[in-house]
C-alpha cells in the first residue's frame, strides 16, 4: 500500500488528506480502502473527536478513478464507496471537509457526508456521471436533494457544473482558506461542549439519513445495471480516447 491517504495526528483532531495530487485525488480502490481504514482507526480511537478531510494539491477529489473500475459497479459501490460514507455519516464523531479546486462525483458525496463543509471561492462542482452513461451514485441524489432541494434536481437528472456560490445551498461555507477555517472549527468543537455536538449530529441523522442504507441498496443495483450498457462502455472508451461519446440510449 502506498500513501494514497495521509493522516496527521493533532491530539483529539485528525487531519485526513486524500493524497493523489497528480490524479486530482481520483479515488482508485487503494485510496478508497486506505480512506476507509483511516476513518475506522479514527472512529475507534476514544481520544479522537473531530476529523478534517481535505485533498492535497489543486483539487479536493474528482471522484471515482474511472481507469480502475470493477466489472460490477454495484460491488464497487457496496464494497468500497459506501463504507467511507458510513464511517463518516454514522459515526458519533464530527467530520469537517475543506474543499478547494475541482470536486466531482463521489468527491462531492464525500464532502456532503461531512457535518461541516468549507469551500474556497473558486471551486468547481462537477457532475459527470451522465457523460459516461451512469447515474449519480454514492448517495449523491439523496444527499443533494435533501440538503439543497429542487435547485439541484437538474444536476442529478442530467449532470453539469456549479460553483462555490451555488454550493452555499448545500451548506458549504465559502471562505478564503478552507483548511485553516476547518482547523479553527475543529479546535472549537473538539474543545467545546463536544457531547452536545455529537448528540446533535445523531438527531440530524434521524431526520435526514434514517433511510440512507435502503437508498444505497437501490442506487447500487441501478448503477450495476447501467454498468452493463452499451452507453457506459462507449462513455469509458470515449473518455480514454479523449473524444465525444456517441450514445445510443441503450
Amino acid at each position: 500500500m502506498g500513501n494514497e491517504i495521509l493522516v496527521e495526528d493533532k491530539g483529539n483532531i485528525s487531519v485526513i488528506t486524500l493524497n493523489r495530487p497528480d490524479k486530482l485525488n481520483a479515488m482508485n480502490v487503494e485510496l478508497r480502502n486506505q480512506l476507509t481504514k483511516a476513518l475506522r482507526d479514527f472512529n475507534r480511537d476514544p481520544k479522537k473527536r473531530v476529523a478534517v478531510i481535505t485533498g492535497s494539491g489543486r483539487a479536493f477529489s474528482v471522484g471515482a478513478d474511472i481507469s480502475s473500475i470493477a466489472e460490477d459497479l454495484a460491488e464497487d459501490l457496496r464494497g468500497s464507496f459506501y463504507p467511507i460514507l458510513r464511517e463518516i455519516r454514522f459515526s458519533n464523531k464530527i467530520f469537517i471537509s475543506a474543499v478547494k479546486g475541482v470536486v466531482a462525483g463521489a468527491g462531492i458525496s464525500l464532502a456532503l457526508a461531512t457535518d461541516i463543509r468549507y469551500v474556497s471561492k473558486d471551486s468547481r462542482f462537477v457532475m459527470a456521471f451522465h457523460n459516461i452513461g451512469l447515474a449519480p451514485d454514492t448517495g449523491l441524489a439523496l444527499m443533494m436533494l435533501r440538503l439543497g432541494g429542487v435547485k439541484f434536481e437538474k444536476f442529478i437528472l442530467t449532470g453539469g457544473e456549479f460553483n462555490s456560490e451555488a454550493a452555499k445551498d448545500l451548506g458549504f461555507e465559502v471562505v478564503d482558506d478552507p483548511l485553516s477555517e476547518a482547523m479553527k472549527k475543529a479546535e472549537e468543537i473538539a474543545n467545546g461542549a463536544y457531547k452536545s455536538y455529537s448528540a446533535s449530529k445523531r438527531l440530524i441523522n434521524r431526520v435526514i439519513y434514517s433511510d440512507l442504507e435502503e437508498f444505497l441498496d437501490y442506487e447500487s443495483a441501478m448503477q450495476g445495471a447501467l454498468g452493463k450498457t452499451y452507453d457506459f462502455k462507449e462513455g469509458i472508451k470515449a473518455f480514454a480516447e479523449k473524444r465525444k461519446p456517441q450514445f445510443r440510449g441503450e
Binding site: E75, D217, A221
Partner: protein, 254 residues
C-alpha cells in the same frame, strides 16, 4: 422440459418459469417440469442456492384457469399442484424468488413457498382468487397472513386487490426492491453471498427459520438448539470457528 428451464452458473441454479405467452400460469405440465428441474438440481452437488424467476413480463399469474376449470374435483384434490408444493417443502437448499413482474394467486403462493423474495419495482403482488368466486389454495391465506398480519391479509384475500413491490417491501413480504433491469443481477449477488457460506450451516439455518412458522416458541427454540449443536459439531462449524480464532478465511467443505 419446456415450461420450466434452468441453467447452472457456478454454484447457483437459475430456474425460469417458461410459459411467457400465458404469463407463466401454472398448468400440470409446468408442475411436473418444475418437480423434475428441482429433482435434478437437488442431485447436483455443486449447486448451493437456487433462484426462481419468470420468462417474459410476469413472474407467474397463478393457476392456469382454463385448465383448472376443466379438471374434476377428484383430480384437483388427489394431485392438483401439490407435487410442486411438496417438492419445495422438502428441498433443503435455499431458494430465492426474483419477482420480475406480475406475481398473483398461485404465483404469489409460489414466491411465498420460497425462502427469500426480492422484487423488480414494477412487480405487483396479490391474491385475486376472490374475483373468480374462489379462494387461494396453496398458502395465500396462511403464509400471507403470517407475514403481513391478519388485517392486511384479510384485505388482500377478500378484495383481491394487488399491492406494489414497495408496499410488499414495507410489509416484509419482499426483502428488497430493485430497478427492473437490475433484478437478476441482484438475485445473483444475493445468491453468491449465501453460496459463499457453509452449505450445511445454510441448510440447517433454513430449516430452523422455517420451524418458527410451524411450532410454538418453545418447540421452535428446542429445534433450533438441536440444529445449533449439530452445526457446532459439523466439519464446517469446527473449521469456521478455528478460522475465526486464527484470523483467516474459512475453507468450507459443504
Amino acid at each position: 422440459m419446456n415450461t420450466v428451464t434452468y441453467e447452472i452458473q457456478g454454484n447457483i441454479a437459475i430456474v425460469r418459469l417458461n410459459r411467457p405467452d400465458k404469463l407463466n400460469a401454472l398448468n400440470m405440465e409446468l408442475v411436473w417440469d418444475f418437480v423434475q428441474a428441482f429433482n435434478e438440481i437437488e442431485k447436483n452437488k455443486e449447486v448451493k442456492v437456487v433462484i426462481i424467476t419468470g420468462n417474459g413480463k410476469a413472474f407467474c399469474a397463478g393457476a392456469d384457469v382454463s385448465e383448472m376449470s376443466n379438471m374434476s374435483i377428484e383430480e384437483v384434490t388427489r394431485v392438483g399442484h401439490a407435487p410442486m408444493w411438496e417438492r419445495l417443502r422438502t428441498f433443503r437448499k435455499p431458494v430465492i424468488a426474483a419477482l420480475n413482474g406480475i406475481t398473483v394467486g398461485g404465483g404469489l403462493e409460489l414466491a411465498m413457498a420460497c425462502d427469500i423474495i426480492i422484487a423488480a419495482e414494477s412487480a405487483m403482488l396479490g391474491q385475486p382468487e376472490i374475483n373468480l368466486g374462489i379462494i387461494p389454495g396453496a398458502g395465500g391465506t396462511q403464509r400471507l397472513t403470517r407475514t403481513v398480519g391478519k388485517y392486511k391479509g384479510m384485505e388482500m384475500v377478500l378484495t383481491g386487490k394487488l399491492i406494489s413491490a414497495w408496499e410488499a417491501y414495507r410489509r416484509g413480504l419482499v426483502v428488497k426492491v430493485v430497478p427492473d433491469e437490475a433484478l437478476l443481477d441482484e438475485a445473483i449477488r444475493l445468491a453468491k453471498e449465501i453460496a459463499s457460506k457453509s452449505g450445511f450451516a445454510v441448510e440447517l439455518g433454513k430449516e430452523a427459520v422455517n420451524k418458527a412458522l410451524d411450532t410454538t416458541l418453545q418447540q421452535g427454540l428446542d429445534f433450533e438448539r438441536r440444529n445449533f449443536y449439530v452445526t457446532l459439531m459439523s466439519e464446517d462449524g469446527k473449521e469456521g470457528m478455528r478460522a475465526f480464532i486464527e484470523k483467516r478465511k474459512p475453507n468450507w467443505k459443504t
